[in-house]
């Protein structure tokens, strides 16, 4: 068997309806592959039935950089619109199901749906209407394709219907665009490693999982929107 080759790649994600649920607009390719790795090799971690600390090594098909970082850019896209949509949680506690199923165990009183444990929710979500999302990386195209094939959605709240993926395409490019590329800075970089210039500077993780505060440091943040849409 031939040894897999790491080559410069451009990966394009097309969303089914173009709607992406993301408050800061940053979509990380290594985070998507990280999620895919767990889905393939340790789904029990996401199911809560296996401790993450039991996983000793996570091997993504990307060039590994120092401090366990990966050679992958964030997603760049044309954004056509930005809109607040809502998800709601209806407490059935006052509905017909409660009449039939709720056992108050001999107690009586009011169940408050305006506050506390049984409150109703109407949560705003920032939904971006975007064109195809471009990522750049140094990686193994065959293994990346296998992993992306199982990723049917990206962004927040896919269980509610946002971020469904229509398809992925992978194509070779001439050089490594994971730090500097066609859109300038291509991924958040620690401020000690990249000149801030006009870029935004704020706390951001530099490796997956991106929600983990221990992975965060002060970074220079790329401008992910491609601004030639009229």
């Amino acid at each position: 068997m031939t040894k897999s080759k790491i080559v410069p790649l451009k990966i394009t994600c097309t969303l089914l309806d173009g709607r992406l649920n993301s408050s800061d607009g940053l979509i990380f390719l290594d985070a998507i592959l990280y999620h895919a790795w767990f889905k393939l090799h340790a789904p029990e971690v996401y199911e809560g039935t296996l401790e993450e600390s039991r996983i000793k090594y996570i091997g993504l098909p990307l060039r590994q950089l120092k401090n366990n970082r990966w050679a992958a850019s964030v997603g760049f896209y044309r954004q056509y619109d930005e809109k607040i949509e809502y998800w709601t949680k209806k407490p059935n506690i006052h509905g017909i199901d409660a009449h039939e199923r709720l056992d108050l165990e001999g107690k009586r009183g009011k169940i408050d749906i305006s506050a506390g444990e049984y409150r109703a929710y109407r949560m705003p979500q920032l939904i971006r209407t975007v064109g195809p999302i471009e990522f750049y990386c140094m990686g193994n195209p065959r293994k990346i394709a296998e992993m992306l094939n199982i990723m049917t959605c990206i962004g927040k709240k896919p269980a509610m219907g946002w971020g469904t993926v229509k398809g992925w395409t992978i194509e070779p490019v001439e050089q490594d665009y994971t730090t500097d590329g066609p859109y300038g800075l291509m991924r958040p970089m620690p401020i000690a490693e990249y000149p801030a210039g006009d870029y935004l500077v704020r706390d951001c993780a530099v490796k997956p999982p991106y929600w983990k505060t221990s992975n965060q440091e002060i970074c220079v943040i790329p401008e992910v929107q491609i601004n030639d849409y009229k």
């Binding site: 969303l15 089914l16 309806d17 173009g18 709607r19 889905k39 789904p43 996401y46 199911e47 809560g48 039935t49 296996l50 401790e51 056509y80 619109d81 809109k83 949509e85 998800w87 709601t88 949680k89 209806k90 407490p91 059935n92 506690i93 509905g95 199901d97 409660a98 039939e100 199923r101 709720l102 056992d103 108050l104 165990e105 169940i111 444990e117 049984y118 939904i127 209407t129 975007v130 064109g131 199982i150 049917t152 959605c153 896919p158 269980a159 509610m160 219907g161 946002w162 469904t164």
Partner: protein
């Protein structure tokens, strides 16, 4: 060991009566829910049925089905909230591996839909799209070549598939029914009630509380396309089938079902390992299960029966404790 498989369930809903699914309201007029989508490279507004509304509807029916098959039991409010609304966590999120294992293995329904138990969030195993109308704006979203989709609708904008209807609420107290049946001063009361209006209640000479309101709707015959992606075990697929099966006894979407809105026919295909097969179809309260849906539901029914015999009849408290996330 349970193994997860990937299933895609594609549903075509055909409206048999008007559909109301409101987004914004202005005065007494309610408008359809619209979202902004990419249509052939351009952003356009389009009606869409919210995915979370579909999931919430199936969650209610799945929970109801499960409790029926566990001896038609009632449950305390915390458990009720978990089963029907997804629950809530009571403090800082934490992980309890043993509890997660116990819940996922005993209750495929909770494992599939997810929820907050104790201080732990159990992630569900479904993702989905919104349900989009088959129309000019959704060319590119609706897949080609399905024999249950009427593609001629793609020549028409969704805006041509809408209508408005007004309803009125008549205050019968102000008409001859009120004159005839409301008790007057000096008349004998047969049923308990107040002869004199209480403070703050309506007097005879107050204006009638009548109103007229308008709703925008999608016209009957419109088709909606929806996708569920499940990554789950066979038993969890059975829990999904059970929810759809229970919904099929009253197959409606959206609001105003009491006024005859929202009746639908549903054709569901299942795609697994690249193979497409008939999953379920629902027309007129009659679900017809495909081979895989039928066997998954049978397996789930057997699981619930075994839960009922081996667990609930002997130790109901332990079952409730499991769902409430109480520490052992």
């Amino acid at each position: 060991m349970k193994t997860n498989k990937s299933y895609r369930v594609e549903t075509v809903f055909t409206l048999l009566s008007p559909l109301s699914h409101i987004g914004e309201s202005e005065s007494t007029t309610s408008f359809l829910n619209t979202i902004r989508i990419m249509s052939q490279g351009k952003p356009v507004d389009c009606f869409a049925y919210n995915g979370n509304a579909l999931r919430g509807m199936l969650r209610d029916h799945g929970a109801s089905y499960m409790l029926d098959h566990l001896g038609n039991i009632g449950v305390p409010k915390k458990t009720f909230d978990l089963l029907f609304s997804g629950g809530a966590i009571g403090g800082t999120q934490s992980a309890d591996i043993d509890q997660a294992r116990a819940v996922r293995s005993a209750l495929p329904f909770v494992s599939l839909f997810g929820g907050g138990i104790g201080n732990q969030i159990l992630e569900g195993k479904m993702t989905q799209t919104f349900a989009y109308p088959v129309c000019a704006e959704t060319i590119g979203i609706i897949p080609q070549g399905r024999n249950n989709i009427d593609y001629t609708a793609q020549n028409i904008s969704w805006k041509k598939m809408t209508g408005e209807i007004s309803f009125s609420r008549m205050d019968d107290a102000k008409h001859n029914l009120g004159d005839r049946y409301i008790v007057h001063e000096g008349e004998q009361l047969l049923l308990s009630g107040d002869v004199k209006p209480e403070k703050g209640k309506k007097e005879d000479n107050e204006p009638a509380t009548q109103m007229r309101y308008t709703v925008e709707y999608m016209v009957p015959g419109t088709q909606l396309f929806h996708i569920f992606d499940l990554n789950c075990s066979d038993l969890e697929l059975g829990a999904f089938v059970s929810a759809v099966h229970r919904w099929s006894s009253r197959p409606v979407l959206g609001g105003l079902s009491g006024k005859g809105f929202g009746q639908v026919r549903a054709d569901m295909d299942l795609i697994t390992d690249g193979e497409r097969q008939k999953f379920m179809s629902i027309e007129g309260n009659q679900p017809v299960l495909g081979a895989l849906a039928g066997s998954a539901k049978e397996q789930y029914d057997r699981h619930l029966e075994s839960m009922y015999r081996n667990y609930l009849t002997t130790n109901e408290a332990q079952f409730v404790q499991l769902l409430e996330g109480t520490k052992k």
